[in-house]
Amino acid sequence: MSDEVLLEVKQLVKYFDVFSRGVFTRKKVGEVHAVDGVSFAIKRGETFGLVGESGCGKTTTAKVILNLEDATSGTVNFEGRDVFELLKSGKRSDILQIRRGMQMVFQNPYLSLDPRMTVFDILSEPFIIHGHIGRSDWTARVYELLTKVGLEPYHAERYPHEFSGGQRQRIAIARALAVEPKFIAADEPVSSLDVSIRAQILNLMMELQRDQKISYLYISHDLSSVRQISHRVAVMYLGEIVELANTDSLFEHPLHPYTQALISAIPIPDPETKRQRIILPGEVPSPLNPPPACRFHPRCPYAQEICRTVKPVFEQVDTDHFVACHFWKKFA
C-alpha cells in the first residue's frame, strides 16, 4: 500500500425522490436521504472497508461512485480526474478510460452474470467493449483470467447456472479483472456464500491485491470479515459516515456509540469470550425523514439535549481516526 491517493470522494450526496401517484399526476412528496455528504479517500493498494446496517447507504455509495446511479451532488476524483465530468462529457475514449480503471463486484453472484452467456462470452465481453485485447488473444486471456481466480480453462464453455455460488463469484471477479482495473468496489461479495467458501473468496481478493496493487472499497455488514481484510474502515449510519479510522483502532477503541454497539452485537465464535453487549433500542429510522442533528440520537444510550439540536462535527481525534460525536472524549 502506498500513500498516494487513488480515489477521492468529496461530499457525495444521493437523494431518491419519492412520488405519490395520482391518476394523471405525479407529486414529489419527499426524498430518501440515501447518502448524505460522504467523503473519504482510498489509497493505491488499500482496502477501505465501509460498514453499516441495511439501508445505511453503503451500496448506494458504491453505485454512485461508479456512476451506476447519478449523484445528487458531490464529486469523485479518480487518479486526479473528475469521474462524473468525464463520464458526462460523452467522449467515448474518456468514458472507456474511466470504466477500465474502476470496476464493481456485486453481492449476488446468481444475479450478476448473464444467464444466457457462456463464461467465455462473459469474460470476453470486456475485450469487445474496450478493444484492448486482439481477438486472437482472447482465448489465452480468458484462460489466464480463469486460472487467476482459481478456475479451470474448461469452465469457459459452461453457463453460469452450472456453477456454485462461490465459483460464480470467482467468475464475477475475473470479469472485473478483465479490464485490468486499479480499483474494485466489492459490495458484500461473500455474504451470500457459505461460510467455508467465504474465506476462499476473501483470500483470493487479498492475493490479487498483493499481485496487482488493486484498491478495494469493501462494503459489508459483516464486521468480522471487514476486520480481516481492511486497512481502514468507515462506519455509516443513515447515509452519513459517523466514524473512520484504521482498522485496529476502530475495532479496539471505537469512539462512536454506534460503532461500539455494532461491534458488541457481533457474536464471537469462541465460547470463552463473554462480552458486555450493548443492545440498542428500536430500529434504524427511515431515511425518508432522518432525525435532526445527530441522526443516531434516538437510539443512543448517551444522548443529551445537544445531540438533538446541534449536528456533531466530523473531527479528527487522532492520526487516521475521525468521529462525529459530541461526546467522543468520554470514550477516548
Binding site: L66, Q107, L111, D114, R116, I129, Y159
Partner: protein
C-alpha cells in the same frame, strides 16, 4: 501476465466439444416431458405440413365454382367431395386446404408483425426513463384500451379497395399485425423493468457497455421467453379474429379462408350443415394446438420451475 502467451508458440485453442447444454436445450428437455405441449406441437406441425403440401393434392383451385356447372352444388360429403359442396358448388375440402394455407399465413405473419412492433416499442418503453418512456407507455396504453375489433372492421372496409388489387389476405395480416402488439409491449416493458435492475446489467454498465449494446445483447435475450409464449397464443388469437372478421361479413371477397367457409355455412346451416362443420373443426383443432403449445412452452421456459 504475458508469460502465458510468450511461452506458447500458438494461442491455445478453444475446446468447443465441452460446450454444455444451453438454457434452450434444457427447456426443450423439459418441454418434451410435457404431453399436452408435445400434442400441441404435433397438431401445429401437422397443419403446417398440410398447408404447405395440401394444395398439391387439392382437387379444385380456390373458390372454384366448377361443380356448380356439373350440378353438384350443395352436395353432402361423398367420395368425390369428402367435405361436401356449398351452395355455389365450391368444394369444401379444397377450400379447407387453401384456407389452411391462408389462415396459417394470417396467424403467423400477423403475429410476426405484432411481435416485432411489440418488442421494439416495449423494449424502448422499458429502457428509456423519463419523457420518452412516458410517451411510449401512453401510446401502448392507448392501443391497449381502444376497441381493436371495431378498428379492424373499420380498416378492412376503408381499405377494401386494396382487395381488388389482389391484396386480400395480406390486408388482414397487416391490420391484425398493426393492432395486435400492445399486449406484447406491456409484458416486455414489465420484464425489462425487472431485468434492467439485475446486477449483471449494472455490471455491464460498469464495464462501459453502451445503451444499445446493453439493451439488445443482454436485456432483450433475457425477456424473450414470455414473448415466445405470448406469440404462440397470439397466433391462435389471430386465426380466431380472422374467422370473426369474415363471420361479420367484413372479410375481403373471393379469398379462400376458413372464416369465409364458416360464414357461408352458417347462413345455410339448416340445409347444408357440413359446410360450416368441417372448417369449424379445423379452426378449433388448430387454435387448440397453438394454445397447448403456448402452455407447454410457458411451463418449459418458466425459470421458477427449473431445477
Amino acid at each position: 501476465m504475458s508469460q502465458l502467451t510468450e511461452e506458447q508458440t500458438a494461442p491455445p485453442k478453444r475446446v468447443h466439444r465441452q460446450r454444455s447444454a444451453t438454457q434452450w436445450a434444457v427447456a426443450w428437455r423439459r418441454f418434451k416431458r410435457n404431453k399436452s405441449g408435445v400434442a400441441g406441437l404435433a397438431i401445429v406441425i401437422a397443419f403446417v405440413v398440410f398447408a404447405i403440401f395440401g394444395p398439391l393434392f387439392a382437387p379444385y383451385p380456390p373458390r372454384s365454382t366448377e361443380s356448380l356447372l356439373q350440378g353438384q352444388a350443395g352436395q353432402p360429403p361423398s367420395w368425390k367431395h369428402p367435405f361436401g359442396t356449398e351452395i355455389n358448388g365450391i368444394d369444401v375440402f379444397s377450400d379447407s386446404i387453401w384456407g389452411a394455407r391462408n389462415d396459417l399465413w394470417i396467424g403467423v405473419a400477423a403475429t410476426a408483425i405484432a411481435t416485432l412492433i411489440g418488442l421494439a416499442v416495449g423494449a424502448l418503453a422499458g429502457y428509456s426513463r423519463g419523457v420518452i418512456g412516458g410517451i411510449l407507455l401512453g401510446i401502448i396504453q392507448f392501443f391497449f384500451v381502444i376497441p381493436t375489433l371495431l378498428l379492424i372492421l373499420l380498416f378492412s372496409r376503408v381499405f377494401q379497395v386494396l382487395v381488388y388489387q389482389g391484396f386480400g389476405v395480406n390486408l388482414i395480416v397487416l391490420i391484425l399485425g398493426l393492432f395486435g402488439w400492445p399486449g406484447i409491449s406491456f409484458v416486455i416493458r414489465g420484464e425489462i423493468f425487472r431485468v434492467r435492475e439485475l446486477e449483471f446489467i449494472q455490471a455491464e454498465k460498469a464495464l462501459g457497455a453502451g445503451n444499445l449494446r446493453i439493451l439488445f445483447r443482454h436485456i432483450v435475450p433475457n425477456v424473450l421467453t414470455p414473448v415466445i409464449v405470448l406469440a404462440s397464443l397470439l397466433v391462435a388469437g389471430n386465426i380466431l379474429t380472422e374467422v370473426v372478421l369474415f363471420f361479420l361479413g367484413f372479410g375481403p371477397a373471393n379469398v379462400a379462408t376458413w372464416g369465409e367457409l364458416i360464414e357461408e355455412g352458417v347462413q345455410y346451416v339448416s340445409v347444408y350443415p357440413w359446410v360450416a362443420l368441417f372448417p369449424g373443426l379445423l379452426v378449433v383443432t388448430l387454435v387448440l394446438g397453438f394454445n397447448l403449445l403456448g402452455d407447454g412452452l410457458a411451463d418449459a421456459l418458466n425459470p421458477r420451475l427449473r431445477e
